[in-house]
C-alpha cells in the first residue's frame, strides 16, 4: 500500500534527527568525551557512575568516551567509503556507457567483482594490507562500486540514444563533453540513493570487519568496541553488556535505520517529482532485478531495503 506522505515525512525527519545527533557526537567527540578513550581512567569493568556515565571496559577505559570517539570513526569510514564508491560508480558507469572500447573490460571487471562474496574478499584484502582505518576505507570504497556502476551505465545507455545526445554528437562534441554536459546531469537523480545506501552499507561492513578483529586499534569504532567486548568470555554472564554492548549496538542499528528512512523519503520525493503515477512501493520491488546473472541489475535491488552488502 502506498505509504502516506506524512509517514514518509516523519520518517525523514526522525532519520535526519538521528543522523544529525550521531554526526554531532562524531564532530564534537573531543569536547564531549569526559576522558581520553585510549587511556585507562578507572578500575576495569566499573558499572555506570557519575565519573563514568557508561562505566569502564575491561582495561578501564571510559565507555562513553569510547562511544563518542567511536561515532567519529564509524561515521568517518561510512562517509569516506560512500564518497569514494560513488565517484567510482559514476566514472565507470559513464565510461562504460559512452566509451565503446572501455565497455568490455569495465563490465567484465564489474561482473567479476559482483560475483565475489564480499566478506571473504574484504577479510583477505584487509588482513593482507593491514587493518588500518585508511585500508578499510580503501578496500570498501574500491570494491563496492559495481552494483551502481551497472545502474548508471544502464541509464547512460538509455540516454545516449536520445535525439539531443545524438545531435550533440553530430555537432562534433567530444565524448567527455557529452558525458559532462548532456548525460551526467540526467543521472544525478540516482545520487542521493547511492550515497545513503553506501553509507549504510559501509557502516555494516566496517562494523563486521571490526567485529571479526580487523578494526584499527588506533581508531576504535562502534564495531571495534563490540568486537573487543565480545572477546570477554563472561560478557553476558554479568550485567556488563548493558552499558558496554548495548550503546554501540543501538547506535549502529539506529543510524542504519535512520539512513533507510532517509533513503525511502528521498526516493519517494524523487518519484513525485518525476510525476510517476505509481506509488513508491509500486516501483521499488518490481521483479525486474531477478535476472539470472542479476547481482543488482537495476535500481530496484539495492532499493529493496535490504541489508545490502553491495
Amino acid at each position: 500500500m502506498e505509504p502516506e506522505a506524512s509517514g514518509v515525512g516523519r520518517g525523514a525527519l526522525l532519520g535526519g534527527a538521528i543522523l544529525a545527533l550521531a554526526l554531532a557526537a562524531a564532530v564534537f567527540a573531543p569536547a564531549l568525551a569526559p576522558h581520553d578513550p585510549r587511556l585507562p581512567s578507572g578500575p576495569p569493568l566499573l558499572p555506570p557512575n557519575p565519573a563514568h556515565p557508561l562505566g569502564t571496559n575491561d582495561v578501564g577505559q571510559d565507555i562513553l568516551s569510547e562511544w563518542l570517539w567511536g561515532a567519529r570513526s564509524s561515521l568517518y569510514v561510512a562517509v569516506a567509503v560512500a564518497l569514494l564508491s560513488t565517484l567510482l560508480s559514476w566514472t565507470v558507469g559513464l565510461a562504460a556507457g559512452l566509451g565503446r572500447s572501455l565497455e568490455g573490460p569495465l563490465m567484465a571487471l564489474t561482473d567479476l567483482l559482483l560475483a565475489l562474496p564480499s566478506v571473504p574478499l574484504y577479510l583477505l584484502v584487509v588482513a593482507l594490507a593491514g587493518a588500518s582505518q585508511q585500508n578499510v576505507v580503501l578496500t570498501l570504497g574500491l570494491l563496492s562500486w559495481p552494483a551502481f556502476a551497472r545502474i548508471v551505465r544502464a541509464q547512460v545507455i538509455a540516454l545516449r540514444g536520445q535525439p539531443y545526445v545524438e545531435a550533440a554528437r553530430a555537432l562534433g562534441a567530444s565524448t567527455l563533453h557529452v558525458a559532462r554536459v548532456h548525460v551526467l546531469p540526467s543521472t544525478l537523480g540516482l545520487l542521493p540513493a547511492k550515497l545513503v545506501l553506501t553509507v549504510r552499507y559501509a557502516l555494516f561492513a566496517e562494523a563486521t570487519l571490526a567485529f571479526l578483529g580487523l578494526g584499527d586499534p588506533a581508531a576504535k569504532s562502534w564495531g571495534t568496541m563490540l568486537g573487543w567486548a565480545f572477546n570477554d568470555p563472561l560478557l553476558f554472564g554479568r550485567g556488563v553488556w548493558l552499558w558496554w554492548v548495548a550503546p554501540p549496538a543501538l547506535a549502529i542499528v539506529l543510524v542504519v535505520l535512520a539512513t533507510t528512512w532517509l533513503a525511502t523519503a528521498l526516493e519517494s520525493a524523487q518519484e513525485h517529482r518525476a510525476g510517476r503515477a505509481a506509488g513508491p512501493a509500486e516501483t521499488a520491488d518490481q521483479p525486474e532485478p531477478a535476472r539470472a546473472e542479476g547481482v543488482g541489475g537495476t535500481l530496484a535491488r539495492p532499493r529493496a531495503g535490504e541489508a545490502g552488502w553491495q
Binding site: 567479476l112 584484502v125 588482513a127 588500518s132 578483529g213 521483479p287
Partner: protein
C-alpha cells in the same frame, strides 16, 4: 548454454588468478615481522631460518611466472597450502570444518527463501494492515547486522531463557553416538546447537526474499487470469498458492544465487559469535593469527562455491523459463 559455461569458466579463471595476485599486489609481507601493521603475531615468533624455509615453501624465492605455474600445479592437486597457526594442510583443516558451514548455509537459505517468499505472498495478497506489517518487519530486520542479531539471540534465548546452548556445535563429553538411537541423539544435539546460528542467518537474509516475492505477486494481482480463476469458483487460498505464487517463484529462485555470497559472509560472523566449529570460526582464528594461507583458501573456495551455486541456479532458471537466455 555454451556462452553461459564460457562466462562462468572465465569468472572462475579470474578468481584463481586473483587469488594468486592479490597477496602479491597488496602492500605488506606476511613473513616480515617488522611490518608496519605490527600485527604479524605468527611471523614474529619465527626464526630467520624458519622464515627462509617458509619463503622457499611458498616458492616466494622464485620468479613470478614460475610461482604462478607452481601455484596452479598445487591447486590441481588440491593442495591449498599449509596453515601457519595450526601446522596442518589447509585443505584437510577446511574439509573437517566445511560440513558445519554447509549445513548452516543450506538450511538458513532454504528457510529464509521459502519463509520469506510465503511472507511476501501473504503481504501482497492480503494488502492493507497485513502488508504494512510485513514490510515493516522485513525492513527492520534488514537494519540489524548479523553479528548484532546473533548477540541479541544469544543474550535472550541462550543466556536469558536457557533454551539453547551458549556455544559450540555439539555437547562436549556427550556419550558416543552408537546404535540408531545414539545417532539420532547426536543429530538432535547438533540441531539444537545450530538452531540459533541458523535462525540468525534466516532473520538476516529473509528481507530480500520477502520484498521480492511481495513485488512479484503485486505485479500480477490485477491480471485477468486471477479473475478467471476466481470466477471458476476456486477458493482464495488456491488462487493465491497455485495461480499467483508461481510467478513469484522465478525471481525468488534467482535471488538465492545473489544471496549465497552474503549468507556465506553472515555465516563467518555468526559462527564466531556461537563458536560453531565451521569455516567461519576457522576464518576468525586465522584473522587473529594472520594465517594468510587459510584466509586465501577461504576466499578461493568461497568464491568458487558461490560461482558454482550461481551457475547451477542459472541452469535451473533456464529450464524453468525458456524465454530467458538465448
Amino acid at each position: 548454454m555454451a556462452r553461459l559455461t564460457l562466462r562462468y569458466a572465465l569468472l572462475a579463471a579470474a578468481i584463481v588468478v586473483l587469488n594468486f595476485t592479490l597477496p602479491r599486489l597488496l602492500p605488506g609481507d606476511p613473513l616480515d615481522a617488522d611490518a608496519p601493521q605490527g600485527l604479524n603475531a605468527a611471523a614474529s615468533t619465527l626464526t630467520a631460518e624458519a622464515r627462509a624455509q617458509l619463503r622457499a615453501y611458498y616458492h616466494l624465492d622464485r620468479p613470478l611466472a614460475g610461482q604462478f605455474l607452481l601455484y596452479l600445479e598445487d591447486l590441481a592437486r588440491g593442495d591449498l597450502g599449509w596453515s601457519i597457526s595450526k601446522s596442518a594442510p589447509v585443505s584437510q583443516l577446511i574439509g573437517e570444518r566445511l560440513p558445519w558451514t554447509l549445513a548452516l548455509l543450506l538450511t538458513s537459505l532454504l528457510v529464509a527463501g521459502s519463509g520469506g517468499a510465503l511472507l511476501g505472498l501473504l503481504g501482497a495478497w492480503r494488502g492493507g494492515r497485513v502488508d504494512q506489517a510485513v514490510v515493516t518487519l522485513a525492513s527492520s530486520l534488514a537494519a540489524i547486522p548479523e553479528f548484532l542479531m546473533a548477540m541479541a539471540l544469544l543474550l535472550t534465548l541462550s543466556v536469558g531463557l536457557g533454551w539453547f546452548p551458549l556455544q559450540g556445535g555439539r555437547t562436549v563429553f556427550a556419550p558416543t553416538a552408537e546404535g540408531p538411537f545414539g545417532v539420532l541423539r547426536a543429530l538432535a544435539d547438533v540441531t539444537w546447537h545450530l538452531a540459533l546460528p541458523a535462525l540468525t542467518l534466516v532473520l538476516a537474509t529473509t528481507t530480500a526474499f520477502v520484498l521480492l516475492a511481495r513485488g512479484a505477486v503485486r505485479a500480477v494481482l490485477a491480471e485477468p487470469y486471477l479473475t478467471t480463476a476466481r470466477a471458476k469458483g476456486l477458493p482464495e487460498r488456491w488462487v493465491a498458492l497455485r495461480h499467483a505464487a508461481p510467478n513469484a517463484l522465478l525471481p525468488v529462485l534467482t535471488l538465492f544465487g545473489v544471496r549465497v555470497g552474503q549468507v556465506l559472509g553472515g555465516a563467518i560472523v555468526v559462527e564466531r559469535v556461537f563458536s560453531v566449529p565451521g569455516l567461519g570460526l576457522f576464518t576468525f582464528e586465522a584473522i587473529r593469527a594472520r594465517d594468510y594461507p587459510v584466509l586465501q583458501a577461504v576466499f578461493l573456495l568461497g568464491s568458487l562455491g558461490v560461482l558454482l551455486a550461481n551457475l547451477a541456479l542459472e541452469i535451473i532458471y533456464r529450464r524453468l523459463e525458456p524465454r530467458h537466455g538465448a
